[in-house]
């Protein structure tokens, strides 16, 4: 349990500045192609903080990494690490 909390909230070891830019670009444009450039939703649901707040970091990280069966959400695991997915989740919740 402690390990879980540890890995899911305390340390998102920050990606490098360059990687942050890449991930930010991916979030805006590639996630944005379904969720909207402003992330308020499109074919995919809204990713604005109020839409995500009641979902756990773990659920969100897993959704990014593994996708959601039965929906159009694909797994992004080939393109980012768990740490990077967590960094994206924290950015979305801000």
């Amino acid at each position: 349990m402690i390990a879980l909390i540890f890995s899911f909230s305390a340390v998102a070891s920050e990606p490098s500045i360059k990687r942050q830019q890449e991930l930010g670009n991916m979030l805006m444009h590639d996630c944005g192609s379904c969720h909207g450039l402003t992330l308020k939703g499109g074919l995919g649901p809204s990713l604005l903080p109020e839409a995500l707040r009641n979902k756990s970091d773990e659920f969100l990280v897993n959704t990014i990494l593994d996708g959601r069966k039965g929906t159009a959400m694909p797994p992004w695991k080939p393109f980012m690490t768990k740490q990077e997915a967590l960094w994206i989740v924290q950015k979305l919740l801000k």
């Binding site: 991916m26 909207g36 450039l37 402003t38 074919l43 080939p78 393109f79």
Partner: protein, 386 residues
């Protein structure tokens, strides 16, 4: 001093008096900035940038039949009428919360917009942008469906698909105040986009939620919607799709129609004479746009992330890939000049438009554009379904 200002004044008048024809113009969406460039396809020039068009993360454009105005449909429900002669916004409204595309009627008098929120289609006067008809995409227990694949069709109709409901609706707007709706139910799960064949006869919706495509023959509307290619790739593992394919860029070459497969790295070749699968052409990624050069000889294909730096070109003569181009990072869209001797390609992450000669694939020119996405030439004004 006053003489000088008079001279300047005269000079200005001369500049403004310069005539501009619109038949070889186009509009390029700059998705991140919420702006659009007006470009000239004959001399490869940027003429103007129109700003403040809202959220253009998914945007499309149709043209008035006089080719003077471009109507831009933005993600945020914005509908903007741009005057291509005067480089300015003629009119702009916010007509919904979240929208995906639009169409102009056969007679050019109506603009229809397909919306996600609230799910449905709204129809406006192309002259004033005043609301003429509101068609909520209601299904089931008073739910509203997202609407996709909206096209204009002969006999003053609009046809569109309901993503959540799995329906196709055909609406006659001969009397725009009293639209006549014909609904086709159970056409398949999650239609994600659709096309109208260039002859205006067949409306074909791609399905995301299951295999195959839904086909409506507008010459025999009473025959209903039938499923085509229900079994293709049934035993293949479905690969993840990082960007929804589009069907808008129909590709018809002789008796064959080429469409992107979904979850398979293939272009499907459908025999139009009997609507069966003729061939599966393996390509390097999930195809997004599969677009025929206007003469039908070549088919250009771009791809979803992470293969979106590439374009593959299929020769219609033997349905083989003849060329791979790598214009840059994140190729989003392609648009052919009216008779197809050149093609313009938008490269989002490199902030560029690249123009190619389609005969020898030589790069002719690069123009700067900020995060360009859709490219729309005014020649679309006179094509059904675009």
């Amino acid at each position: 001093m006053s003489k000088l200002s008079l001279l300047l004044l005269l000079f200005c008048f001369n500049v403004h008096a310069e005539l501009r024809a619109t038949g070889d113009l186009g509009v390029v969406i700059e998705r991140a900035k919420g702006s659009a460039l007006i470009i000239n396809t004959s001399n490869h020039k940027r003429l103007a940038r129109i700003e403040a068009l809202g959220d253009l993360s998914h945007a499309s454009v149709v043209f008035s039949r006089d080719q003077r105005y471009a109507f831009v449909f933005g993600r945020d429900g914005g509908l903007t009428k741009i005057d291509l002669l005067q480089d300015k916004i003629a009119k702009r409204i916010i007509q919904a919360g979240n929208s995906i595309g639009g169409a102009i009627s056969q007679d050019g008098k109506l603009i229809a917009v397909s919306n996600y929120t609230p799910g449905g289609v709204k129809i406006f006067s192309s002259e004033t942008l005043q609301l003429v008809a509101d068609i909520p995409a209601e299904y089931g227990d008073k739910q509203l469906s997202k609407v996709v694949g909206l096209v204009d069709a002969p006999n003053q109709r609009f046809v569109f698909s309901l993503f959540d409901a799995g329906e196709i609706w055909s609406v006659s707007v001969k009397n725009p105040n009293k639209p006549l709706i014909r609904k086709y139910k159970n056409i398949g799960k999650q239609p994600y986009d659709a096309l109208l064949t260039p002859d205006g006869r067949y409306y074909i919706a791609g399905l995301f939620g299951e295999r195959g495509l839904a086909l409506l023959d507008l010459w025999s509307p009473e025959a209903g919607v039938k499923r085509i290619l229900p079994d293709y790739g049934k035993n293949d593992e479905k690969m993840p799709v990082y960007k929804m394919p589009h069907l808008e860029g129909w590709a018809i070459a002789g008796d064959y129609m080429l469409v992107p497969a979904v979850g398979q790295h293939e272009v499907l070749v459908i025999d139009k004479t009997n609507w069966t699968l003729h061939k599966r052409i393996p390509v390097i990624g999930q195809p997004v746009f599969v677009m025929a050069r206007p003469d039908g000889r070549q088919i250009w294909v771009n791809f979803a992330f992470p293969d979106n730096q590439n374009i593959q070109i299929i020769d219609a003569k033997d349905l083989n890939i003849v060329k791979l181009l790598t214009p840059g990072k994140a190729v989003l869209h392609m648009e052919f000049t009216p008779r197809g001797e050149q093609v313009w390609v938008s490269v989002r992450d490199d902030d560029q438009l690249v123009i190619y000669d389609t005969e020898n694939f030589n790069e002719l020119k690069r123009l700067a554009a900020e995060k360009p996405s859709g490219i729309f030439f005014s020649s679309r004004a006179h094509k059904m379904g675009l």
